[in-house]
Amino acid sequence: MIPEAGTGALLVALVLALYGATAAAIGGRRGRPALIESAQHAALGVFALITAGVLLLVYAFLTFDFSVRYVANNTNLGTPFYYRITSLWGALEGSIVLWAWMLSIYTLIVILRHRTSARELYPWALSVMLSVMAFFLLVMTVAAPVFARLTPVPGDGRGLNPLLEDSGMITHPVALYLGFTGFTVPFAFAVAALITGRVGDFWITTTRRWTIVAWYFLSLGLLIGGWWSYHVLGWGGYWAWDPVENAAFMPWLTGTALLHSVMIQERRRMLRLWNIALVMLTFGLTLFGTFLTRSGVIASVHAFSQGSIGIFFLSFLALVVLAGLGLIALRWDALAAQGELDSVVSRESAFLLNNVLLVAATFTVFFGTVFPLLAEAVRDTKVSVGAPFFNQVNVPLFLALIFLMGVGPLIAWRRASLENLRRNFLMPVLVGIVAAAVIRLLGVSSILAVVSLALTVFVAATIGVDLTRATRARLKMGEPALPALGGLLLRHNRRYGGFIVHFAILVVCVGVTGSQAWSVHTETTLKRGEETALGGYTIRFDGLRESQESNHGKVTGTFTVVNGGRAAGTVLEPAKKFYPQEQSPIAYVDYRLGLLDDIYLVLGDFARDGTSATVKFQVNRMVSWIWIGGLVLTLGTVLAILPERRRTS
């Protein structure tokens, strides 16, 4: 009964979405408010029906309804309660449901916010959003039907992929998909601008906040993904340049470029063509990401399934890319009319360079990701492109970007005078140079680490210069120090929100640099009671114990940190979990996080009688900074999207 009700709801939603998309387009073309209103009702209906679908699916999971194939594939009788809910997006079919559901929520918010404020563009934007919606509903009902039946009904399900039984499972996909789907809104408005021919700056100002929100969720999704990888997968890293990581990273790069280039358009009316192309590219890359994850075209640890879904996504991707670029070509003349750069030494050119570097990084990542496919097409050989390639080409680009992060916000618009440069940059540059010398003297031998950290200090100093100068100006007017700073942040929230986000990126950068440069690891076999030392810490192996959990067996090793300052006395219990449905045991990592060092243990082979065990012992440096950066990023974003107060003051 449930599968039929679910399928029915989704089919009706599909029809409604198609109707709404058409009605909104006709309403926009003929200027008929009644039709647009009807499209709005359709969007509301779509939201209600998908919500019903989600609830039915959750109900099927909670009641172990194994007659639904998706439920049988992703749970078994031992799956704990909350993972039965998150199993909803544990595999392909359900992820699409989650995606569509979020898109329907975004659509509702667009209706609420913009139905009166953006009359010209709104009907078309609504039509585009409902069309995208219709595509996902088509996938949900035809290509990857989530409510497909399973016969014969098995007595027990297969169970969720054990790696997905983690708290990251609750947040990582949700954040990532909120980011992915969020970019649909700027895309919809860009297409609306192209269709109506109103390619001016209105659509940019309308969607600025949307872009920030989508970008923020995407950043958060990436960071949580890193955290997940770090504490679940047991290789001690947070980023592997896996195709699917790249798939999420590429729209992040172009989205970051967009956040910056729209400022130039807002201020100088330049880059119209570029911005609209960036929006298309970003949205196209979110689809490409899903295509890559779900089609199985490129081998990846994330590639869960194969099937006809790839063809659906590729066709839609082709439609979006060709139609989008075609519309741009059509409106070329209106888009190309724009201002010119006054000087190479100006904020415009700093932002432009930032954009060029970000897009270059996107292309290298794209190239590296699809290269195996290209190699097989041209040379018929299987190759894989590994982290060394991506690091080698991207690290210099990212270092240059960090440098620009210091320059961009402070350099003058149009043409920077020598006085402007001296006033803003003399001190930060000196501080950066001194920092480089100090770091070198402290014994850091890696040139890359020295450069990266010195650049970080330089950028932090530029932020410091700006903040102290602005606060001082307020102090002169008689305000006390803290309220002066607070008032500054709130009144110029967009500028200082941006600064805080920059600061967050610096914190992440320090974490990445530190962990890459100074982490150490070893793998050793210990007898019970034996000790081993690494990077200033000594651990002792105290024995093994066996236990049976609800859906797996578990062997836990006990290790005590016997030497290492505040960490001494910590007991770590890495384990191996044996799931009946998996080929090989799953490692359960145990760790002690610290601001500077993480102690990180992975249990390897062991003697069955518990007399000895092999352990992978890592001391990872400064990884926590990456997660702290994520928190700072959240603060900055919230500040940046608050309504601006400057004008009312």
């Binding site: 049988a72 594939n73 007595g155 297969r158 490129i298 081998a299 063809i311 590729l314 070509a329 080929q583």
Partner: protein, 179 residues
């Protein structure tokens, strides 16, 4: 910019899309197995009915060695009837189908054999030794072993009647080894 030029923009996307479309022709899971062409690793298992299954005793017959599991929907479920049909059609012509149930619960495996009324021998692989020897990456995977005892074909994902028939006929057409 000249009128015609600007249409290069959408055109530029075509090769990329074509490359991605080409990707559908490939199966990334199909990693060339180093075992093809080599003698099949010997094993002895006890079937669900308690009978001894020894690969060595099947020398001179074509062996279709299939790795499956009861939790493997839908591929193993699609494949089970194919294997059963193949076994019935070819058992008297010198072909043996062997099923190895890996990483499974005993009852679930037995139920699977019962549900599909499989009459060819099926055995659990306790400890996973056989699946490790054959480098199993996922289920289902099937090895076709010729009458000399060498692995000739490795098939990843569900078998079809056509593949079963074609491969087995080809191996049967080869001369039998001297006794």
């Amino acid at each position: 910019m000249k009128r015609a030029w600007r249409w290069l923009l959408p055109l530029a996307a075509v090769p990329v899309l074509a490359l991605l479309a080409y990707g559908f022709r490939l199966n990334p899971r199909e990693i060339p197995s180093p075992l093809v062409g080599r003698p099949a690793a010997p094993f002895a298992l006890t079937s669900f009915d308690g009978a001894k299954l020894d690969l060595a005793s099947l020398h001179g017959r074509v062996v279709v060695l299939n790795f499956w599991a009861s939790w493997c929907y839908p591929a193993c479920y699609e494949e089970a009837p194919v294997l059963e049909r193949g076994w019935r059609a070819y058992r008297d012509r010198g072909v043996t189908v062997l099923g190895v149930d890996i990483q499974d619960k005993d009852e679930a495996g037995r139920k699977f054999v019962q549900d599909f009324s499989l009459s060819f021998p099926n055995a659990p692989d306790p400890g996973g030794k056989v699946s490790v020897d054959y480098g199993i990456y996922g289920v289902p995977e099937t090895f076709f072993i010729d009458r000399q005892g060498a692995i000739r074909v490795k098939h990843v994902s569900a078998l079809t009647d056509q593949i079963f028939k074609d491969t087995v006929e080809r191996l049967l057409a080869e001369p039998a080894p001297p006794r």
